[in-house]
């Protein structure tokens, strides 16, 4: 019995030795993916600074009031039974002390109120380029605000649309922005309320139906120039290392090279994480996004790639009455790919009229592998195009834009790594991964011919549900989608 008691006495020491280092260890790094304690932009820095001010004020108050309380409890505690029977003087209050405490606490609030008001103006308005004093205070270049870019953010259940109106391009779930420029975000939603939260850069702002909200951010370039190893230790890095280009896939490569999707620290400083912060329904937790800082040149190149893909005319059907130049692309029916399927052919040299593309004709070569072509055909015949735009802006489309999908690092709005395995899994049963997603559950797909079984049951399924039984089709779709790079 005594032995057990002695053992029990050791529990606090055991807990102290084992638990404390564990706690401290996990506290030592505060630069987690969505940490607000690691601001990397001017707006977030301002929010962090005021937070720290409020922390110090409240710690001071807590120590003062708590210390006072402890002192009183210790000094005036009942000591022994006789003491308990004594009657202390029955004082009823002291107006002077009370008034001065009220005045004192009001003063402390003023200390917090002033930066608060300044902060409110800051996050609501991009500073005026002519306000040199303000720019100096914020350590901002004039060009950063003058050449600010605009992004129209639309929240949908459960993903994000990013439209760049100045460039006429649209992407989804991964926001690419130049690190040297301010970014204005116009926030809209087409269904319920969402909230755009990008902790390291901008704080959050709700997307209200029937209303356009605004928030802006600008990255602090100096703070991005680092690399992080697996344990979270930072080392300085060059621009190329810290902000690898998105447009040629180097960012994707850098992030996935020796890290898993679930590692706590990314090797690059220019990758940011955000999430929907207002409860928006079943898959609210899965409505995440990423933001990627780019050098000006890389950003321009990324925009250029998008523009050329989204603006370009789609390849025409092959017309035997027409001559083609080298590099032209045409579509031609190819039954080897499937019924009603088409293949893209590219002219290797200038081609005369009537030289139809076919295997053996040296003038034409197949633009893509068979699997890709089949995937493309499935993409069209399975009516994916009704909701997803590939190589067009598809504004107003129901689903995420999939232009240059192969360059994305994440899938299902930031929830999974974008790779073959996960994409296969996603196409096979997306409802299991993201319950309530509208691709699986949306019943309104035009021109869809319900199967006999569905007619019997009176339930129209979305065609994506049929993929479950067709692994080959999924594989081809995956090849096609990841081929968008």
């Amino acid at each position: 019995m005594i032995r057990i008691l002695r053992l029990l006495q050791n529990i606090p020491a055991f807990l102290g030795l084992m638990v404390l280092p564990w706690l401290l260890g996990s506290c030592s790094n505060i630069n987690h993916k969505q940490s607000t304690l690691d601001p990397k932009g001017i707006v977030a820095q301002n929010q962090y600074d005021i937070f720290m001010l409020s922390i110090w004020i409240t710690i001071f108050l807590f120590c003062a009031v708590g210390g006072c309380l402890l002192f009183v409890l210790w000094k005036y505690r009942v000591k022994g039974e006789d003491d308990a029977k004594e009657i202390p003087p029955q004082t009823h209050g002291n107006p002077k002390i009370e008034t001065s405490l009220i005045l004192f606490s009001s003063l402390i609030l003023v200390i917090l109120a002033i930066p608060t008001l300044q902060g409110i103006v800051l996050f609501n308005r991009v500073p005026d380029p002519n306000d040199t004093e303000m720019l100096k205070k914020l350590k901002l270049e004039r060009s950063a605000v003058e050449d600010a870019i605009t992004v129209n953010v639309t929240g949908k259940r459960f993903f994000w649309v990013f439209e760049y109106p100045e460039y006429g391009i649209v992407t989804a779930n991964e926001l690419v922005f130049p690190a040297s420029k301010a970014v204005r975000l116009n926030l809209r939603t087409t269904d319920v309320i969402h909230s755009f939260w990008l902790p390291k850069l901008a704080g959050k702002m709700d997307l209200m139906p029937g209303q356009e909200n605004f928030i802006w951010f600008v990255a602090d370039q100096e703070k991005l120039l680092f690399q992080t190893d697996k344990e979270g230790h930072k080392t300085p890095a060059t621009i190329a290392e810290a902000m690898p280009a998105v447009h040629d896939g180097s960012l994707r490569e850098a992030v996935f090279k020796d890290r898993s999707f679930f590692d706590e620290f990314d090797p690059v400083g220019g990758l940011f994480y955000g999430q929907c912060a207002e409860f928006c329904g079943n898959s609210h937790a899965y409505m995440q996004f990423r933001a990627m800082a780019q050098t000006d040149a890389d950003f321009d190149e990324w925009v250029h790639r998008f523009q050329s893909l989204q603006a370009k005319e789609k390849p025409e059907q092959y017309n035997s009455e027409k001559a083609y130049k080298a590099g032209d692309t045409v579509l031609l029916k190819d039954s080897s790919l499937g019924e009603k399927a088409h293949r893209e052919w590219q002219a290797a040299v200038d081609v005369d009229k009537g030289q139809a593309p076919e295997v053996g004709n040296e003038a034409w070569k197949k633009k893509n592998q068979d699997d890709y072509e089949m995937g493309r055909n499935h993409f069209q015949t399975s009516l994916c195009t009704q909701c997803h735009a590939v190589n067009s802006t598809g504004l107003g489309a129901i689903g995420p834009n999939l232009t240059l999908f192969g360059l994305r690092t994440s899938l299902a709005a930031g929830w999974m790594q974008n790779d073959r395995k996960n994409l296969t899994e996603w196409l096979r049963d997306s409802d299991k991964i993201k319950f309530g997603n509208l691709m699986w559950n949306h019943e309104v797909v035009k021109n869809y011919q319900p199967t006999e079984e569905e007619k019997d049951k009176g339930v129209v399924q979305h065609p994506v549900r049929e993929l479950k039984n067709d692994p080959k089709k999924i594989e081809q779709l995956v090849t096609y989608l990841l081929g968008q790079n």
Binding site: S35, V65, Y76, N94, S105, L112, R125, Q275, A285
Partner: protein, 647 residues
Amino acid sequence: MATESVKYVSPETKSKTLLDIFRRPDQHATGIVDWLTTIDHKKIGLLYGLVALCSLIFGGIQALLIRSQLWGPNMEILSQREYNQMFTMHGTIMVFLVIMPLSAAFFNFIMPLQIGARDVAFPRMNALSLWCFVAGAIILNMSWFFTGGAPAIGWFAYSPLTDTGFEEVTRDMGPDFWVFGIQVLGLASLLASFNFIATIINMRAPGMTLMRMPVFCWMTLVVSFLIILAFPAITIALVELMFDRNYGTNFYDFLEGGKPHLWQHLFWIFGHPEVYILILPAMGIVSEVIPTFSRKPLFGYGLVIFSGAIIGFMGFAVWSHHMFTTGMGIVATSAFSMLTMLIAIPTGVKIFNWIGTMWGGKIRFDTPMLFALGFITMFMVGGFTGIMHSSVPVDMQQQDTYFVVAHFHYVLIGGALFGLFCGFYFWLPKMTGKMLNEKMGKVVFTLMFIGFNTTFFPMHYLGMIGQPRRTHSYNAGHGFEQWNQIATIGAFILGTGILIGVIQFMRSFRDKSLKPAGKNPWDARSLEWTLSSPVKEYNFARTPIIKARDQAWENNYGPRDLHSEKEPLDHHGVHMPDHSWYPLFTAIGFLVLVIGMLFHSSVGAEGEIIRNYTVAIIGGIIAITGMIMWSLEGPGGYHLFPEEDDE
């Protein structure tokens, strides 16, 4: 035997009792009939407490399920929808079915005793508010069993998520149950509040001026006014939502030009005073307990009351601080930010005054005092984090993260629940006549204090490193795991503490081994402690004449001229009203009415909506009949002739 009873039958009541459907129970009613038809404020208070404590266990189980789901990344204990239902029901239950009714339990039981009243002003209306509350609880929890299950819309039910166009289960009935449940609960709160106000204004004993009234009664008064001013806002919001959902109006439907913002404003004009409705009763309780265990009067009595009233008043001017991130523009945001900071001052005043009360006193650390001290410290932490997000730029990061979850649990558990447990340990001896086991009480306090801080302190950090609220799952790699695990362990410790406490409270009514309490076991200060424990059914044998603020204390220790006196004998005895079935009957009418409304529409063969109001009309008729019968049955009752000091 001190009392003899004489049946009191006035001629006009006799003829009207012929209309009774049930035989009207009198003082000889026992068992279940006694409890169902009682109009005694003490028994009604106990019933409120019983239902609220059961709801506390139920809401607590939901909290533990939520915490288990968040133990690690991608857990699958609950599905998304189940998780969303859990946090919706957890919030709604804890606010409307636990903290508010627990406060109402104390208002009912203690307030009339503290002001020297026989009962509340309208005893049968008091019973009606109890049964409406029970009906509301039933309606809310019926949702589990019908299409779509419990609502998954959050306790704030932000439009347009509640719009039928965005429902995730076809013909989801959860939000309808929520709407009607809250309406009926609101009715219960309104009835009770009018009653308490009338009681406090009219039924104070002679000499009990407003400025001699115990702080707890003052807080009852302030909270009652808050309820009658705040609930109309949510009532309007809910009626509009009901019309949107059932009759195709478009108050909130933005596609038709409605405004989701409108819901948020209406909800928080109710919702923020609601926060003070939850916390002020606990502050009242603590303002009674601290003077008792310091053997000193409350420091700055006037200021404490004034700050309580100011908090209530300003509570209506800060609602938009729940909406800082909804894009209200610079001016509105700044104004609400400044007002929110201001409200910290009267709150701080209370804390200064409690410490001032202890200064120079003789402080004993019995369980009620421990809970009161726990209240002060935990509420302080909650208040400080509140100051943090009164600053809008800070709130831009903290809004809808676990930081906010930590903040309001520090206010509502560390504050309100600790305060209410403090009240239980303080007043249960008065209710049962037996002292609670002190050792057990300290065990409960320790478990709750440790468990509570282990659960909620890490959530501050979780919020700061980026975990949003109301997400059923998170990915690995965000650094959330460890802290969530600590919080989950803490939640189970807290749950154990609360469970032991609740069992202790319930057992104390039956446990014969407990020490008898006597009239004033704590050497407490206010009027209820001059009565025997448990309190006699007639409360005061003769109405006391009050001479001082802390009457029980002055009777024991004060000068002779401050000792209370009693009104002279007038040979009428104490009039006791008879029991009544009609409050219960009327509440059942409301229940049937609501069920009729919930199920009034069905889809016909051609997809058209068929509406059938038969059940609802029957319910309405029952309710109206109940009210008419109640008016006709008269007070009835009998007289008791207790001996002068038998109280």
